[in-house]
């Protein structure tokens, strides 16, 4: 207090320069220059004070301090000019190893905890490194841009498509400035490669690419000439793997491959495309193979060269060195404006650019050419890993400070012998870094294991990430580990370095360990809060996921096998299937609903101005009974010959509500006529509302139309007995139909499960993280309890001697820890609940409510573990013989 008073007394006499600036000067400035500099600045400050006032004087002082940071004023780092630095490092190492081996419990807890958390950190580093190395093998990656389109369908948000029209690509080539080369790609060439023999057909997929492809993408060609390989119509460039698959070890260049009736010539072989490339293909087909005059394949989007046909082509641009991307973008705007103006449609297509290195992390667009990472997912992964790692660091901090009673004498002696503050800090930091490095060994093994697990979570991950080790990655691991060690050791190091040697050596208990109690408690609470959030999120997520699978969709999906017809006529196959004894029904549909894929059209009722989008499925007469849809009124479709015109439709309740057909009365709606697309159809039946999309989307107006042969899928209802036998007989039937392609069939329930598979990936990740978080925080708590017991052993003994019962003592000792848990639960549960209710489940139009029980399972589980640990330790302490402990004094 006295000190304070005198300082305050002096303050009003004259304003002083800001203390922190002086401190900073003292920090960076060479000792030999410091005194003079400080004096000069002060003198300047004083003279400024008179002429310009306190504020300006202070400001100038700060600026001057900053301006004095020059090479010649900088202090050399202490280890560089200190001749004792190297022996000290050796000494740090030696004392650290001793301390680590002496405190086996402390080291064990920290090494295990850190190993697990580091392994996750390594995984995330490998993951992020993969993302940053995407497309890095290409030359000139910073000059390659992709042109993409966006347009706004009426009444819907803007859609971004990775594709452009062919025409846009051609116009960019002609008109845009600064362009070195433009490559136009076209998606989905697929066919069955036929080499000489009929039996040996191999399905292959690829991309169309024009002759500029290799100008932009420097994928190395093993055989063939890059400049001409894709010039001629019907040229093929195979990847090494595809070439081996088709031709074995022979030289494929110049050989013919027949797709359907057309012969293609192999003109080159590419080295296999690296895994970390956003473009993946088995082969390239020359774009000139497409006959532009051929209008037979023209879809509703127009012919190949139509401006509005922007769903299939990709435009990649290599800019000239030094070209201005802004000028290029402006040219794109110009092109799009001119084209949009020249045709009176409501579709206004805009063109944009995206640098190559942003493609794989730029967020999902429609018609994406290959894998694109979701930035949110990536950030989430990083965040979760960071939390786990911090949790392990907290353990280290907590336990280090908790055992300070023992260590502080050592520090006292060091200080008496002459250790400076920085040296004590160095000692403790090097100890934590050593522990972190030890953990790295284990962490690396765990990393190798969870890498496989992680990649097998989802086939998409496996195809998009290699997580392969490289020298750079290993260096990053090491650097990261050292960083973690420093972070973990920082607080303990600061704590110990502040110790007053005299008072510690006189009486160790004078050390104010408990002053840091609130810090430690806070750290424990933070750890447990995150653990609880993780586990509760996992449990809620799991229950919701189960709920999605069991959700009443409005129809039955049990034992229905959906077979993709892959372009074959299903008449004979369907008949053969129905003949199987296990098959109880066969129906046909265009789509399998509730999996996320949809088709739709516009619908009008009496008012010609009022149109709305309806979801559509084409089905045959067996579809509705097979899936047990519920009719509210009307009847099912009647079987009709194949070419009979469509006249009937069956709609859901929502359609009636939307158009107010028959005043929402299903029976009155029967017989009404609606216009769907261009067809006038009579409503013959009304179905109770059922789900068409995933549970994320609301039930929209839905119409079913009758087509005798919608062709895409067969829905086969089978009896559940002896499924394997049924599957084999279905498969053998399929073999007769198609020798090349395997049967593509899945049970409806499994397909629904698959549609929510991203949920399982998330759940598994979350589950893993919560298990880790709980383990690590439990380890930390365990250590804390042990040290507390050690410290309070005498207190316990005295209480016992005075007559305290065991139960009372256990309660007394464990209550503070359980109280911490309670606080964590009070923070974690509302947060988790809010997060799910407002963020995750808000995305789903239909979901179960979150039950309070789900919220409480996690805390109960964590509390049980904690209580077991605390209970066991306190009981051990309580059972000890008080006489023996008290005797020792």
């Amino acid at each position: 207090m006295k000190n304070n008073a005198t300082r305050r007394g002096r303050a009003p006499k004259s304003p002083r320069p800001p203390k922190w600036a002086t401190k900073f000067l003292q920090f960076y400035c060479r000792p030999s220059l410091l005194e003079d500099l400080e004096g000069d600045l002060l003198e300047f400050f004083d003279s400024n004070l008179k002429t310009r006032g306190a504020f300006l004087a202070r400001l100038i002082y700060i600026i001057d301090v900053l301006k004095f940071v020059r090479p010649y004023t900088l202090r050399k780092p202490s280890f560089a000019n200190n001749s004792t630095a190297r022996p000290m490092l050796a000494n740090y190492f030696k004392t650290s190893t001793r301390s680590i081996t002496r405190n086996k419990l402390f080291s064990g807890i920290n090494i295990i905890g850190m190993a697990f958390s580091l392994s996750v950190g390594l995984l995330v580093i490998a993951f992020v490194s993969d993302i940053f190395h995407y497309d890095s093998t290409l030359k000139n990656p910073d000059r390659i841009y992709r042109v993409y389109s966006s347009f706004q369908p009426s009444g819907q948000p803007t859609m971004k498509l990775a594709t452009t029209s062919w025409k846009a690509g051609a116009l960019v080539r002609q008109q845009a400035p600064g362009v070195a080369s433009v490559a136009i790609l076209r998606n989905r060439f697929s066919g069955d490669a036929d080499i000489n023999s009929i039996d040996n057909k191999v399905p292959v997929t690829g991309l169309y690419a024009d002759e500029n492809f290799f100008d932009v993408f420097s994928f190395p060609l093993l055989k063939g000439v890059a400049s001409s390989a894709l010039k001629q119509p019907h040229s093929l460039v195979l990847t090494q793997t595809t070439a081996n698959k088709l031709f074995g070890q022979g030289d494929p260049v110049g050989r013919y491959i027949k797709f359907d009736t057309v012969n293609y010539t192999v003109t080159g072989v590419l080295q296999d495309i690296p895994k970390l490339s956003h473009i993946q293909f088995e082969m390239l087909v020359s774009l000139s193979s497409i006959d532009l005059k051929d209008t037979s394949t023209a879809s509703s989007d127009g012919t190949y060269m139509d401006w509005n046909n922007f769903f299939s082509n990709y435009t990649y641009v290599l800019l000239k060195p030094g070209a201005d991307p802004a000028a290029f973008n402006a040219a794109l705007d110009r092109i799009a404006r001119a084209e949009n103006a020249s045709r009176p449609t409501d579709r206004h297509v805009a063109l944009h650019t995206q640098p190559l290195k942003n493609i794989h992390i730029g967020g999902q667009m429609g018609n994406e050419i290959g894998f694109v990472a979701n930035p949110v997912e990536v950030y989430m992964q990083c965040g979760l890993a960071l939390i786990i790692i911090l949790s392990a660091c907290f353990n280290y901090t907590n336990l280090s400070i908790a055992r300070s009673l023992k260590r502080s004498r050592e520090v006292g002696i060091r200080k008496v012998i002459g250790a400076r503050r920085m040296q004590v800090i160095g000692q403790f930091i090097s100890e934590s870094v050593l522990i972190a490095l030890l953990s790295l060994g284990f962490a690396f093994l765990i990393f190798l294991f969870i890498r496989e697990q992680f990649l097998s979570l989802n086939p998409r991950l496996d195809s998009a990430f290699s997580l392969a080790l490289s020298p750079r990655l290993v260096l990053a691991f090491l650097a990261f580990t050292v960083l973690v060690g420093v972070v973990a050791g920082l607080l303990p190091a600061l704590f110990y370095s502040k110790i007053n040697a005299v008072s510690v050596l006189k009486d160790a208990s004078s050390l104010k360990v408990f002053r840091h109690l609130s810090l430690r408690k806070t750290l424990v609470v933070v750890q447990y809060t995150f653990s609880l959030i993780f586990i509760t999120a996992t449990i809620i997520g799991y229950n919701q996921y189960k709920g999605f699978l069991k959700f009443d969709l409005g129809f039955k999906t049990e034992n229905i096998l959906n077979i993709k017809m892959q372009g074959h006529d299903d008449a004979v196959f369907a008949k053969q299937l129905s003949a199987l004894p296990a098959v109880t029904g066969v129906s046909r549909s265009l789509l399998v609903t509730c999996l996320g894929s949809l088709t739709g059209s516009s619908m009008k009722y009496n008012d010609p101005q009022d149109s709305a989008r309806v979801d559509i499925n084409y089905v045959d007469e067996n579809y509705l009974p097979l899936h047990q849809y519920t009719f509210l009124a009307g009847r099912n479709f009647l079987p009709k010959p194949k070419d009979a015109p469509e006249t009937e439709t069956i709609v859901n309740e929502e359609t009636l509500r939307r158009f107010k057909i028959g005043h929402n009365d299903p029976s009155k709606a029967i017989g009404e006529t609606v216009l769907i697309g261009r067809k006038h159809l009579t409503i013959v039946g009304v179905l109770k509302d059922f789900h068409y999309g995933t549970l994320e989307s609301r039930i929209e107006p839905t119409a079913l139309e009758y087509v005798a042969n919608p062709g895409r899928y067969l829905n086969v209802k089978v009896s559940s007995t002896n499924l394997p036998a049924t599957m084999t007989s279905i498969e053998s039937l399929w073999k007769e139909l198609d020798k090349v392609h395997p049967l593509d069939a899945d049970f409806y329930d499994a397909e629904i499960e698959h549609a929510y598979s991203y949920f399982t990936v998330m759940l598994k990740t979350m589950g893993f993280f919560s298990a880790l978080a709980i383990c690590i925080s439990s380890l930390g708590l365990f250590g804390m309890v042990i040290y507390t017991m050690e410290k309070r052993l005498k207190e316990i003994s005295i209480r016992k001697v005075l007559g305290a019962g065991n139960g009372l003592l256990v309660y007394l000792l464990s209550k503070s820890f359980l109280f911490l848990l309670l606080i964590s639960a009070l923070i974690a549960l509302p947060l988790t609940w809010l997060f799910f209710d407002r963020v995750i489940l808000a995305r789903f139009a239909y979901h179960q409510p979150i039950r309070p029980g789900e919220l409480l399972i996690g805390p109960a589980f964590v509390a049980a573990i904690a209580f077991l640990m605390i209970g066991a330790q306190t009981l051990k302490a309580v059972r000890s013989n008080p006489a023996r402990i008290l005797k020792n004094e």
């Binding site: 220059l33 005194e35 003079d36 500099l37 400080e38 004096g39 000069d40 600045l41 002060l42 003198e43 300047f44 004083d46 001057d64 301006k67 004095f68 020059r70 010649y72 004023t73």
Partner: protein
């Protein structure tokens, strides 16, 4: 010869140190330059130049006595060394020679 070459500002600072005789420390040099050379001089720049001159061996410095001003910090006084004097003289000599080479007539016409 680059090492001993005197820059323009270095020369002025060196001259100022010589002219201030026993009171040549950074702030005084700075003030002197501001008033007499009529240019705004930043303390940081003067410091950097003093440091460089000392490295070149053209000036030497020593710490003075602590006083009650400047927060009790000692001043660092600079004085010109023999080498400093030599390079000053040489610079002056070069200039004089050049001046003499210019015919009066040419100078008047400019």
């Amino acid at each position: 010869m680059k090492g001993t070459h005197l820059g323009e500002f270095e020369e002025i600072v060196l001259l100022t140190i010589a002219s201030l005789v026993n009171n040549a420390y950074s702030v005084a040099i700075c003030d002197e330059l501001s008033t007499h050379a009529d240019r705004t001089v930043k303390l940081g720049v003067v410091h950097a130049v003093l440091n460089r001159l000392e490295e070149k061996g053209l000036v030497k410095s020593e710490l003075g006595e602590a006083t009650s001003t400047r927060g009790g910090k000692r001043k660092r006084y600079y004085s010109v060394t023999g080498a400093g004097k030599a390079s000053l003289l040489r610079a002056k000599e070069i200039r004089d020679q050049l001046w003499q080479k210019i015919p009066q007539l040419t100078l008047n016409r400019i």
